[in-house]
């Protein structure tokens, strides 16, 4: 693998951008840092989601399942293990669960996969509840010294790793195979690509990332209980944000995450009694006006400019 001039330039620019983002806690340690945590969290989740769902067009609604699993890893281990190892364990657990789910469903067509991933959060939640009920385990308290700035840096680091992984996958044989699968799975299979293996491998990435995000955020929630850890709304938010930005590019989802976070913030502070309603309407408008997300909009504008230049 050799790096071309533009590659090196892009890498430097990305590193610079992350370095600037990492300075946020020094500028403000209150409201804006809180928003920064939300944005960093959804950037990691939506970007890793689009790594898999962008090329394959499989809509995964399993984010909440992996996220909840990660919070439980931290909740159960925080008294005995150091925090960084819990993030690692959560990543491995999430990847293993994703592999199991992938092996069970990714040989089938897309719609089975969507339904299964939607049910997965509830399934994992019930299994954890069952274990707690039988062991008499009480509610989990995560009391640490990790503050908002620490959580923000962890999430930002995770997002950087996701971007790097996405960039490497895009240049690898796996990424190439997935683009072919996304265009036409039959053709891919006939070209000798092991389609199931490629899909399972890639599905492990969002699984691991969502579990690690959950593990990192557990200290922020302090108290872990199933109904809060496995809230299904998270899965839908990630899909909405990724699609708003555009799942066809590595940097697409973050274009959706940032405006949508500010939109949610504006709605919930100005319409405290109608938040859900206004969000629903906003989503309808986005779907009708921006079918390809911001990435699609940029592509359309670019095409129009080139067309005009050709005249």
């Amino acid at each position: 693998m050799s790096l071309t001039g533009p590659d090196i330039r892009n890498l430097c620019l990305a590193a610079l951008a992350f370095a600037i983002c990492a300075l946020l806690p020094f500028g403000d340690d209150g409201y804006w840092l809180g928003l920064g945590v939300t944005i960093a969290m959804f950037t990691a989740l939506a970007t890793s989601w689009a790594l898999f769902s962008g090329p394959t067009h499989y809509i995964s609604l399993a984010t909440a399942a992996f996220f909840g699993l990660g919070t439980y890893v931290t909740g159960l281990g925080i008294d005995t293990l150091p925090f960084w190892s819990l993030v690692g364990i959560a990543g491995v657990t999430g990847a293993v669960l994703a592999a199991l789910v992938g092996l069970a469903t990714l040989r089938l067509s897309g719609v089975y996969f969507v339904i299964f991933t939607l049910g997965l959060a509830e399934l994992v939640r019930q299994v954890i509840t069952w274990v707690q009920n039988n062991s008499g385990q009480k509610g989990l308290y995560v009391l640490t010294d990790l503050d908002e700035a620490g959580i923000y840096w962890w999430l930002l680091g995770l997002a950087a790793v996701v971007f790097l992984a996405g960039w490497l996958i895009g240049r690898s044989r796996l990424g190439f195979a997935l683009r072919i699968i996304g265009d036409d799975e039959t053709v891919a299979a006939h070209s000798g690509i092991n389609t199931a293996r490629a899909k399972v491998l890639l599905f492990m990435v969002p699984g691991a990332v969502a579990a690690m995000t959950g593990a990192i955020l557990a200290p922020r929630y302090v108290y872990i209980e199933p109904s809060l850890a496995f809230a299904p709304i998270l899965s839908f938010q990630v899909v909405i944000m990724a699609l708003l930005g555009g799942a066809s590019r590595l940097w697409g989802p973050v274009l959706g995450v940032i405006p949508f976070t500010f939109l949610l913030e504006a709605v919930s502070s100005n319409f405290p009694n109608q938040t859900t309603l206004v969000i629903g309407v906003a989503f309808l408008v986005i779907v009708y006006l921006l079918p390809g997300g911001f990435v699609g909009l940029l592509d359309r504008i670019k095409r129009r400019i080139t067309a005009r230049g050709a005249l």
Binding site: Y31, T129, K138, P272
Partner: protein, 399 residues
Amino acid sequence: MNRRPFLKLVSALTIASALAATATTAETIRIGAVAPKTGPLAGGATVTQWPSIYLWVDQVNAAGGLTVDGEQMMIELIEYDDQTNPGETIKAVQRLATQDDAHFIIAPYGTGLNLAAAPLFDRYGYPQIAVSAITDQQPELSAQFPNMFFTLGTTTALAADVVKVLSDMRDAGQLGDNVAMVNVADAFGIELATAARPLFEEAGFNIVYETSYPLGTQDLSPVIKGAAAAEPDAFVAWSYPPDTFGLTEQAMIENLDVKAFYTAVATPFPGYGARFGAAAEGVLGAGGVNTESPAFMEYAAAHEAVTGEKPDYWASATTYASLEILAQAIEAVGLDRAAVTQHLRESTYETILGPISFDENNSNPDFWTVGQWQGGVFKGVASRGRDGAVPVILKDGWE
């Protein structure tokens, strides 16, 4: 369900009165509130939390506001819906503290949401008088978050007093030794069942039937049928709102023949009495209040007059009391939050529940634990340190 337009009206009135107040006085006290208006906990919060907040703001402003350093200050309420999502609770508290410059913030609703907000209350130095956060971890939590106060009691006290009520009934010859115990398989239900099991055994009861069911189970008839087959003398369910109603309904259908029938959360809701009417007579539940006390009667009447809803017979009054405490501390020491927190630790407050003070763990040691529907009212039958408990009656059928 026409609660929503009503809430809107109330908030509009509140805002209007706050605006009117701005015209007359120099400054208002900005009080922030964040609790669910949507999501799984909205049902509880719109019965227990929001109406008491609206009532309190309405009454304080009608009386001309709070006296701060010799000056009358009206209250401006800033409210947010956290959608029963801890991430939203955190954002809302942050917004209240840094963007809205709230002088004080009313504690959120529910154990999980209160704890998610606790680090922020702590960081910005707001006192957090938690109500609907029942836990045995109060010493650990108040050590970690010195601004956090607890008013509604502990898990173990809730379970232990149910066992005590049943023991007393047995010792009086009203009840045998056999208990059926079930729980909803979710955080609080599991905690209560875990706390109660050894206590029942210690008290010499036989748990003849024990099972759990997942949160959200629609068909509870196997649970009640299983309990009935074990022929218990008492039935105890550590339940949540939907299954509290479901279990009672099934017990009526199966005509479950027990001398004591207990369901936990939501049994003191006015909706419970309204739905089951005479069949609710004798049902035991978590919570309670001294319904005969003039202070409570006056509060309940005002609650209904101002918000159009009846208060519940447990946490509603405690929510209101927590706001009375906050108001008295503000009037005593002013808007300095550190001074208010210090005042909370040291003083005794007169509330509609009686005097309240906090112990070395920031916990209110005097609270109600068990109540019972008697004559269409849910009366406290057991408490820690509260007056006015009435004698327990036997459950006599479901007619």
